[in-house]
Amino acid sequence: MERLRLKVQIAMAVLMNVGLFQLHFICMPVLNCHSCPVSLFGCPLGVIGQFSAVGLIPLTVIGVMALVGLVAGRILCGWVCPFGLVQELLYKIPYAKFSIPRWTRFIKYGVFGALVVAVPYFLTPESTLYFCRLCPVATIESSIPWAILQGTTNALHLSVRIVILIVIMILAMGHRRFFCKVLCPIGACMSLLNRFAAIFPERRSLCVDCSTCNKVCPMETVPNKNRFGVYDDMLEECINCLDCQKRCPTDAIRLWG
């Protein structure tokens, strides 16, 4: 399953940055910057931020995100997001591994509320704290390529972005999918819908509590029998990677809730 997922992630990363088409009126709910010279889809965060700056609600963007989240939770985080792939590859590098406190997963909701919605709304996109101006994916896919192609007029800003990118990459080397767990605003939006998603790994009565699923989970979740109303098991973090289902010794995990 891990190999299949890796292949799908690579294929989707190539497809979304192939540069043959531009369908920016569609926002794919993954972190892939639409300022990239070759990007296929729009990034929902950039669009939500810009809509917020002009005082509008982007109904199609929120609707598409909600539809994807309700059908399959954070499946795009696990199978499609190019930055998720980058982080998983970074984690394979031998480096000091560390764990993070569980409460840090709530930081991403603050990042979404503050940097994606509130700052553009109150301070306009000209603020240097606007999320897109700090986003590590935008630095990789947009700022650095455009700086190489056309040069940059603001070397200080580019330097700050590169420093942020390097810090996040180092943290991703030490903790699996650090950015997804702690900082990703799209992950925050999709997490809210995970508890209602139709496709979602759930434990059946065959479970023998061996905790194999917990050990292999990249997001440190535990598939639960009763999803709704249980808030201490980090189920909202599940990215539907299906590693737990593949490794379960008693085949106790089913996909359809």
Binding site: S35, V47, L56, P58, L59, T60, G63, T124
Partner: protein
């Protein structure tokens, strides 16, 4: 059961939002004559219909955009809010907002 009821309500809402936004919602956007004047003053001429007339008072052109068109324009920071709340193009001509490649962020 509670989860499934929530699921049904949310999926109906999200389908309705997507359908309304994609097919029915329209937003009125004006072109940016100030930007046109700035470009004109530095010698760059862009033809805007109705703007080349010999009138002294010019009126900004306006056009209804669908939400997907606005989403596309937002990917290159093409629209901003004007002082009285109206949406205004960040480019002189509204046609520049359609099918344009993005700018670096």
């Amino acid at each position: 059961m509670v989860r499934k009821i929530f699921f049904c309500i949310l999926i109906i809402l999200s389908v309705a939002m997507t359908a309304y936004g994609a097919f029915f919602r329209r937003l009125l956007v004006y072109d940016n004559l100030e930007k046109f004047d700035q470009l004109k003053n530095v010698g760059i001429t862009i033809k805007i219909p109705g703007y080349q007339q010999a009138d002294t008072e010019f009126k900004a052109q306006s056009e209804w955009f669908t939400e997907p068109e606005v989403v596309n324009a937002m990917t290159f920071a093409g629209i901003s809010r004007y002082k009285d709340g109206q949406l205004i193009s960040n480019y002189p001509d509204l046609r520049m907002l359609k099918g344009r490649r993005p700018c670096p962020s």
